[in-house]
Amino acid sequence: MADENILLDIRGLTKCYKGDAKALDDVSLNVRRGEFVTIIGASGAGKSTLLRCINRLIEPTSGSVVFDGREMTQLGKRDLRLARQRISMIFQHYNLVYRMTAIENVLHGRLGYKSTLAGALGLYSEDEKALAFKVLDQVGLADFAYKRTDQLSGGQKQRVGIARALVQEPLLMLCDEPIASLDPKSSRTVMERLRWVADELGIACLVNLHQVDFALEFSDRIVGLAKGRKVFEGTPDEVNEEVIHTVYGDVDIEGLPGDRMVPTIVQADVAGGAAGTSSTGVA
């Protein structure tokens, strides 16, 4: 039963960039369907590398990544493209084509499903267009469909990014520091949308985060990376100062001053409890 529920199973994933030390060192991790897992870690810990090894934007050096029953690392070009249909990704810098409108950017999420020519010429079907408008509405941007994306605010851009991810009808959403460039208010909106994606649409989210307080509040499970190794895995209420210390080391990290630790943890207890129920709900 547990097996069936596991959407993503990473075993012994290792990545060495040419001539450098290991950016990822024997990382194992799994994500259940509809689960919200956060990866925390200092800058350079290997969080982005981990996400990109899953959809093979970066080729892992060794290890296995099984997504929805398929071994990703063995796939040829054509099969990899098929597998990527169901794994979507959102980015810190949104990575939108700014000269194009919101709806055009959202429809880019469908390119993986289309023939090369139809996709290149932007010949989307009526169903695809309807779906694109639906997801734009879901992220609260129905009125901005025909607006050029360079005219949107940061939070709105990221929500276009989420819409582009949703239009893929994914099973898994990889989010690489989705709120690192946003103000606190937009950050909250975006995180709430992602949590909603996991809860209501049953799409698993694997999220890299810098902000521990957001991780504690929104996750079902938290994974700590340090220097390419997994040093922690547990529910938000298992995160204490010692864990933070193992993950981030001795250095004082930005956004986590000592005096804010206590209220954050207290807040986390509440969120952890709620998250606990939702994860049992899924299982």
Binding site: R84, N95, R99, M100, H108, L111, T116, A120
Partner: protein, 289 residues
Amino acid sequence: MRARKLAVEGPASAKASTRLTGTNASLAATNAFFRKKTLVLLALVIGFFVINGVSGAFVDFDFVSAVVDIPAGIAWMAAEFMPTVDSLSKLESILPALGSTILASVASSCIAAVFAFVLAVLGSRTTGIGGPTSIIVRAIASIFRNIPVVAWALVLLFSFKQSEFTGFLALFLTSFGYLTRCFLETIDEMSTGPIEALRAAGATYFQIVVQCVMPMCVTSIISWVLYMIETNIRDATLVGILTGTGIGFVFDVYYKSFRYDVAGLTLVTIVLVVIACETLSNYIRRRIM
């Protein structure tokens, strides 16, 4: 002017920094630093005048006689090449040639842009197909760009004789090299984020080029092509003299038959067209940016 200002500034700021640090050692170091700067500047200025003197002597450029002779030369030229009412009657032979020159310039720029874009995409660091392609593309661009258009025209005359096509081809080849280089830089500087996003969504290479790379660099592409058209209209005149076509040929004919007034009128029309083209492309650039 600027040199003297810097030299004066040197000791002054040295003094200021002494007040801050107050130690003799650092005073000596600062003084030595600024003295060295002043000496380098002085050496550059002297070097500049020496080079000027030597090369001026070599080409017989004498400042005094230049000041005396050049205005006289200009006055003579203006008198000879000044179009008269009579030369206006030749407009009907000038204008069609001008038209064909403009067309050749536009066509060569636009067709070169298509080829240059394909090559630039394949050879760019961000979208390239890897392997030695990048180096090969850069080498091709460099060769075509660095052979002057006149040299191309002379070489091509052997194979294609004096014809419209020879001129077009010469313009095309230099434009192609130049635009490839410009597009390469445009694409290299483009942010790679959106490409990564589309790749993650399963888009194919061709889809990424059309849906992402093209929209992202279309404005600078248009801008470069407009610039290329301007340049080509100017160059086409010279090429036309060699290939016996277009406005260059018309100018050549009138010039050699001592109709300097009509040749002057031809020049005026070229200048007007180039200015019009510049104005138009500035306008378009402002609109699309």
